[in-house]
Symmetry: D2
Subunit: 157 residues, 4 copies
Amino acid sequence: MAKKKKRFIAVIGGGECSAQEAELAEAVGRELARRGVILVCGGLGGVMEAACKGASSEGGVTIGILPGDNYRAANPHVQIPIVTGMGYARNIAVVKSAQAVIAIGGNYGTLSEISHALQSNIPVIGLNTWSLSRNGRPDNSIIPAQNPAEAVNKALT
Amino acid sequence: MAKKKKRFIAVIGGGECSAQEAELAEAVGRELARRGVILVCGGLGGVMEAACKGASSEGGVTIGILPGDNYRAANPHVQIPIVTGMGYARNIAVVKSAQAVIAIGGNYGTLSEISHALQSNIPVIGLNTWSLSRNGRPDNSIIPAQNPAEAVNKALT
Amino acid sequence: MAKKKKRFIAVIGGGECSAQEAELAEAVGRELARRGVILVCGGLGGVMEAACKGASSEGGVTIGILPGDNYRAANPHVQIPIVTGMGYARNIAVVKSAQAVIAIGGNYGTLSEISHALQSNIPVIGLNTWSLSRNGRPDNSIIPAQNPAEAVNKALT
Amino acid sequence: MAKKKKRFIAVIGGGECSAQEAELAEAVGRELARRGVILVCGGLGGVMEAACKGASSEGGVTIGILPGDNYRAANPHVQIPIVTGMGYARNIAVVKSAQAVIAIGGNYGTLSEISHALQSNIPVIGLNTWSLSRNGRPDNSIIPAQNPAEAVNKALT
């Protein structure tokens, strides 16, 4: 009998975030866990922590790929800390380890993750996040979602 | 009630290996899983694959931190592939993500992992692996083990 | 007598580019060299090659920080190839090694470099490149320039 | 007329070092510069600084590939600081950017560089540095040199 393929989705966003972004992230985390999806993130606070909290509350698995040298920097809801010691270069591993990326809000670090994902042909779903235009023309590569459930649906298709 | 702390041990060694090394690695993997330890490795073949196979056979969790851009390069016993796209720089993440490292045989890539672990004060247990001397004097930082069970015991203390 | 501080400016853009972008890049390279600025780039073709060509033609110094394992991938106008073997993680070193960044056109790789630069508070000057908005509001962090001379002027102030 | 190919040699060793090691490193740096070779190193103190000092004193070019986020961490004799922000992963770029490596003394970081060089088939010349054996048998990949001039000679052939 075929083993069911596991799915990995990255949730990216600021290490500090608004209450509204945290709510979105937590809801995304819960929804991913309910669907049996493994959550990948950068392992720190803000959106990452809220998403891990949501996933953990539903019994999901959470992976945090950390920039520094110590697993203790991980938020308390990271179950599997990956310690890279490579600073922001870890952003690349966060997105490459996922089949799709959900971006919530976010600053330039999040934008770098969006860029690396798009460069690697990994779909990016956006909730209240960056939008792009190139040489004056809109680039619609970031797939917009209106709410956490829709973001997860789009990430899984 | 306190949540029991999870433990992560890295198993490192050649991407190709002898039958004897594969046996050692598989036994190490089995023993780690029996003790509830999560196995971290570089995710490819040889010693890495044998260790993952052993761990999986006992229901253990296996993480493979991959050098390339595609999770499909992971051996079939890797449950959690981390895709770094950073080549041998991933060696650093392999050892830094563990509380101790067990080295089995191995070539220069393994030696780089041993070096990075010792540099980060992560204990290294050796089974038929490298030994070092510095400026003519033996460096005994690699803790020798006679067999897989002893290696795991030493890694856990 | 005080040694005059050397200046490093990164020129970023697509590995393939339009003829117009190549012209802009070459002019930027020439202008940087005339001002005694050292050019840093990703070392490959397109905008990177045109910029290095321009700089070399005026006797400037060119550094190419390469993603792969072989210096031979550098374009012929790179004088100092840095070989990272780390794939797109090298994008971070390209921008961090500069005091300012000039972006010309570019795809998602360029956008990742813009992001990493802004995250590190390194000014980014744009010539026909990306523009950003965040959560619906324009982010004007990329400083627009109308032509190569203006781009270099702005990068040096 | 053919452009003469530039040569890059890496000098590796501890960020702190003995007076004798510093003397060796400075002599190696001087000799490299006299031969028109560009010096690559990790950009910090100890052996790296002494080698850069020697090279600079003879008008040579020095490149320092730094682990941190700030070029100011470079020793004062680094002319071209490359800022990686990637921690010890920069060790890989140090050796890969060279056609040969000269190791002087050194700790585990140096050993990791030796390992990465040997893994990439880049010759390593040793002055009072590590020696290796694998599974009980000596590994003679590190080419011994008795003095700085011999080290440079061997690195260039």
